[in-house]
């Protein structure tokens, strides 16, 4: 089998060979040559690092740049921080025009420094210190900030040449650090934005707690400016995630298990992209009042009208009274939901809406939003309910093992099924914002077709997982395979990262 066969993605979903090869890694096929991201649209390489490991990683960059350009590590840090840690890019920029780079990075002033002090000496109104000239001797002059006569030796300045006394610099930095500012600290002179590099700050900063704070804040700023690094968003988690290719893909913290989108840091949201999910979540928050009425946990059976409470995640419902099988979302007969074109997930837009009144259009817009919101919300609830199912399964497996009916390994497939179900439903949930923002087109039709297929298979899986002990293992595993294949196919066709 050649890897070209795998590239034609449409046939691919119907052709099981590649798929099987991917999972049967023992196979002698040339799997090494296949780009894993072609097979698995969610494929993402990342590593979880400790603070120390990241410090080491950053320092390697600092050393590389500082030795290549023959500059101090401290200046290298300023350059790296202002340029997203692009070492090679910085080296070439420095080689083509060092001065321009240093000016743009706020290391060098745009004009060479005159022998001025920190006050703008040209404007008469700020010459607070000039009157002291009589008191001055050779080695003493007033600091423009505190106006104290100080020995010239205790003055220092950045590359801009604006000189201030040691105590003023120290106080200036202390006040800024207390406000959480670190890499952004600059010269005290008016309208001078030359940055204070780390070594300059640290020679003037004495209080140990502020030195610690400063170094913490600096580290935080460095990570924030580094495109390949993210803080794990998990609560109180110290782990940092490193990915060579920063993409909108799922990263999972090995420490706290939090999973998130590497690019935007929010909950993972494939197939929807970062900006769309942000728009959608903002909209949902804004419209939460309107959508509140949907939160009902009970509905009436469409045949016998008895009140039914939903207590599992599966949307394939069976009335406990009349045994009628229906869909929780659209209340349609479940049989019609089978493998045929599943109309439940698709929103049918009114084709003549452009000619309707403003009110009708607003109503239509709300109806459309609620259609998608309802399904988004419903899958989110199903996920929570299925978490319960997972717990129940765990308890039951435990009981079985304790009663010597099989081993842990024997029952592992049940857990796998519940976990796969969660993964599939999660993706399904995030197909709804995607569809909501799609313009009507043949692409949208294809998307909704695949979404419906996925939805149908997920509900079949959920139905079987809820009845796992009475379902045949082969049957369940087959259903897992189908659902996951539908999910991968949809992501392969629509996940754009």
């Amino acid at each position: 089998m050649s890897s070209e066969e795998c590239d034609s993605d449409m046939e691919y979903s119907d052709n099981d060979c590649c798929y099987a090869d991917y999972y049967n890694t023992g196979n002698d096929c040339d799997i090494d040559q296949i780009d894993p991201s072609k097979i698995d649209p969610e494929f993402f390489i990342f590593e979880c690092l400790s603070v120390e490991e990241v410090e080491r990683l950053l320092n390697e960059n600092v050393e590389l740049l500082s030795s290549s350009l023959q500059i101090t590590p401290s200046l290298a840090k300023v350059l790296l921080h202002t340029h997203g840690w692009a070492v090679q890019d910085l080296i070439s920029k420095y080689r083509s025009d060092a001065s321009l780079l240093l000016v743009q990075s706020r290391i060098k002033p745009p004009h060479p420094p005159s022998n001025s002090d920190g006050s703008s000496s040209h404007s008469s109104q700020s010459s607070l210190s000039s009157k002291d000239s009589l008191e001055e001797d050779e080695n003493q002059k007033p600091c423009p900030v505190c106006v104290m006569l100080c020995n010239v030796e205790i003055f220092s300045s950045l590359a801009c040449g604006h000189k201030f006394c040691k105590d003023c610099w120290t106080m200036h930095f202390e006040v800024q650090i207390i406000q959480g500012i670190s890499t952004g600290m600059s010269c005290m002179a008016q309208q001078c934005d030359i940055l204070a590099p780390e070594d300059f700050v640290l020679t003037l900063l004495n209080k140990p707690n502020l030195r610690d704070k400063y170094q913490q804040f600096v580290f935080h700023d460095y990570v924030k400016s580094h495109p390949q690094l993210r803080f794990c968003p998990g609560p109180n988690c110290q782990v940092l995630i490193h990915a060579k290719e920063p993409r909108a893909k799922r990263a999972v913290c090995t420490n706290c298990k939090t999973s998130f989108c590497f690019k935007c840091g929010m909950n993972y949201h494939a197939p929807t992209d970062c900006s769309t999910i942000k728009k959608w979540l903002t909209k949902c928050a804004d419209d939460s009042e309107t959508a509140n009425y949907i939160s009902a946990h009970t509905k009436d059976c469409p045949r016998c009208h008895i009140c039914i409470e939903k207590n599992g995640g599966c949307n394939h419902m069976q009335c406990y009274s009349c045994k009628h099988e229906f869909c929780w979302m659209c209340l349609g007969d479940w049989k019609a939901h089978g493998s045929e074109y599943y109309e439940c997930s698709r929103y049918k837009e009114n084709p003549n809406i452009a000619h309707e009144s403003v009110h009708a259009q607003a109503r239509e817009a709300l109806k459309k939003y609620l259609h998608y919101y309802e399904r988004w919300e419903n899958h989110s609830k199903s996920l929570k309910l299925e978490e319960q199912t997972l717990l129940t399964i765990k308890t039951r497996i435990n009981q079985k093992v304790m009663n010597a009916s099989g081993t842990w390994i024997d029952w592992q497939y049940l857990l796998d099924a519940a976990m796969l179900l969660a993964k599939c439903r999660y993706s399904l949930q995030y197909t709804y914002p995607y569809a909501y923002y799609m313009e009507p087109s043949s692409r949208k039709e294809l998307f909704e077709y695949q979404q419906a297929q996925l939805e149908a298979e997920i509900e079949n899986l959920s139905w079987k997982v809820e009845r796992a002990e009475t379902t045949d293992r082969g049957d369940l595993e087959n259903q897992m395979d189908i659902a996951e294949k539908r999910r991968t196919t949809l992501l392969k066709d629509f996940l754009e990262v």
Partner: protein
């Protein structure tokens, strides 16, 4: 109370000896860090003829932190809100320890001459200033007459 830093003494002396035209700033009898300020409405501005009272306070870490300044007299201005708070960059992130009380007061005077509705603090005022400047200026003159003129 800690002794007054030389910097504040110097600035105060100069403010009293060489006052800025159109501005008076007098330290409080009991607190040398608190100034009673009066700014006269600049000529040609809708605030002309008005006397605007402000309070100016030098925080403990002045001049590392900016002075705190607030209008006490009510004023209709897009960059000054109902509480008299002023939207001025040098009072926030553009503060530099090399700036002085004098520069701050001059900047406030300049803000009265040239309101900037694109960087608003009082949103409704700024909105009117953008869409109907003539009416906004009428309001500002009205407020000046009502609140910033003697009796």
């Amino acid at each position: 109370m800690a002794s007054l830093p030389r910097r504040i003494i110097k600035e105060t002396q100069r403010l009293l000896q060489e006052p800025v035209p159109g501005i008076s700033a007098v330290p409080d009898e009991n607190n040398a860090r608190y100034f009673h300020v009066i700014v006269t409405g600049p000529e040609g501005s809708p605030f002309e003829g008005g006397l605007f009272k402000l309070e100016l306070f030098l925080p403990e870490d002045y001049p590392m932190s900016a002075p705190k300044v607030r209008f006490i007299t009510k004023i209709y201005h897009p960059n000054i809100d109902r509480l008299g708070r002023i939207c001025l960059d040098i009072l926030k992130d553009k503060w530099s320890p090399a700036l002085q009380i004098r520069t701050v007061l001059l900047s406030i005077q300049a803000l009265l001459s040239a309101p900037n509705p694109d960087d608003p603090l009082a949103n409704d005022v700024a909105e009117l200033w953008r869409v109907n400047e003539a009416e906004a200026i009428r309001n500002a003159k009205e407020w000046t007459r009502k609140y910033a003129m003697e009796d």
